[in-house]
């Protein structure tokens, strides 16, 4: 959740990302308070499939841009070209793409946390304590994200596009497959394995691209 919000904030702008995360949390609170224990009746698998597929499609676009730009310009990147990373549709003064990405990431992961809280809390008849525990976890993760986002500002944008593309593609793959009924070996432990797999693929593609561009250097700056 925090990884998506920070990554989107770095590339699409903090305002859209934080507003998207805030609205996602607000919807989550309204759903949790409004539905209570009925929250578990929301078709989470359908939600996972839809949001996972959207993140996968969008993440792959960024991953491809990251691969081609890092291969062409190196890890330092080329700020002038990297700035143009697709349409920047503005609504109510916000970058709508950044808003939607953060909103969906926060809503889906927040719903999963809320399901766990409601399930364990109602089973043990300790719903209030479970809710306090869940809310505290969200606050702690948010604070950790706020601390680390400053050091992330040092990273070149082309590397950020590649990294966020890898993250969105990883989460998109995981959620879409879960929504289809796939059981990942090791459950959530599969996430870093998928990320590692995509990192290896991206590194291989960058190496192949660089070799191709070395044979045809003018293409790198076309």
């Amino acid at each position: 959740m925090v990884a998506i919000v920070i990554g989107v904030g770095m590339i699409r702008g903090w305002r859209a990302s934080l507003v998207g995360a805030g609205v996602g949390l607000l919807v989550l609170v309204v759903l949790s308070v409004g539905l209570g224990t009925a929250l578990t009746s929301i078709p989470i698998d359908t939600l996972r499939l839809v949001i996972g597929a959207l993140l996968l499609a969008f993440g792959l676009g960024w991953l491809r841009k990251g691969v081609t730009r890092v291969a062409a310009k190196g890890f330092a990147g080329d700020e002038e070209i990297v700035e143009d990373d697709g349409s920047r549709e503005q609504r109510l003064g916000l970058d709508w793409t950044g808003f939607v990405l953060s909103f969906k990431g926060v809503l889906l992961e927040g719903l999963e946390i809320a399901f766990i809280v409601v399930t364990f809390g109602s089973t043990a008849n300790q719903l209030t304590i479970a809710a306090i525990g869940g809310a505290s976890a969200v606050v702690v993760i948010g604070v950790v994200g706020a601390i680390f986002h400053r050091s992330l500002r040092q990273i070149p944008r082309s590397v950020l596009i590649l990294s966020v593309g890898l993250l969105l593609t990883t989460f998109g793959t995981f959620w879409a497959a879960e929504g289809l009924g796939v059981h990942w070996p090791g459950d959530e432990i599969a996430l870093p394995v998928i990320l590692g797999f995509y990192c290896l693929v991206a590194a291989g593609l960058i190496a192949l691209q660089r070799r191709r561009l070395l044979g045809n250097p003018q293409e790198a700056y076309s």
């Binding site: 499939l49 597929a53 959207l54 996968l56 499609a57 969008f58 792959l60 676009g61 991953l63 491809r64 691969v67 081609t68 697709g86 349409s87 549709e89 709508w96 793409t97 939607v100 593609t169 793959t173 879409a176 497959a177 289809l180 009924g181 796939v182 059981h183 990942w184 070996p185 599969a190 998928i194 797999f197 995509y198 693929v201 593609l205 691209q209 191709r212 293409e219 076309s222």
Partner: protein, 70 residues
């Protein structure tokens, strides 16, 4: 009516750019990958490997297309 039509068009345009972007093969490839994975799951196959490998295939195809356009 014209305001409603304009909003509908803008809404559709946003989602088109969001999903399709500058390479329609990514959205189409993801749709096919999801359909194939769904088919395998419905057939009783433990298909956790299908979507990551299909995703890599879509990525490679998109990079190749980007190279051709460059």
């Amino acid at each position: 009516m014209s305001t409603l039509w304009r909003w509908t068009k803008e809404f559709g345009r946003f989602w088109y750019h969001f999903l399709v972007g500058d390479d329609w093969t990514i959205a189409a490839g993801v749709a096919v990958a999801i359909l194939v994975t769904w088919g395998l799951v419905e057939s009783g196959v433990s298909a956790w490997w299908a979507l990551p490998f299909a995703t890599v295939a879509v990525l490679v195809l998109s990079v190749v297309r980007a190279n051709r356009r460059a």
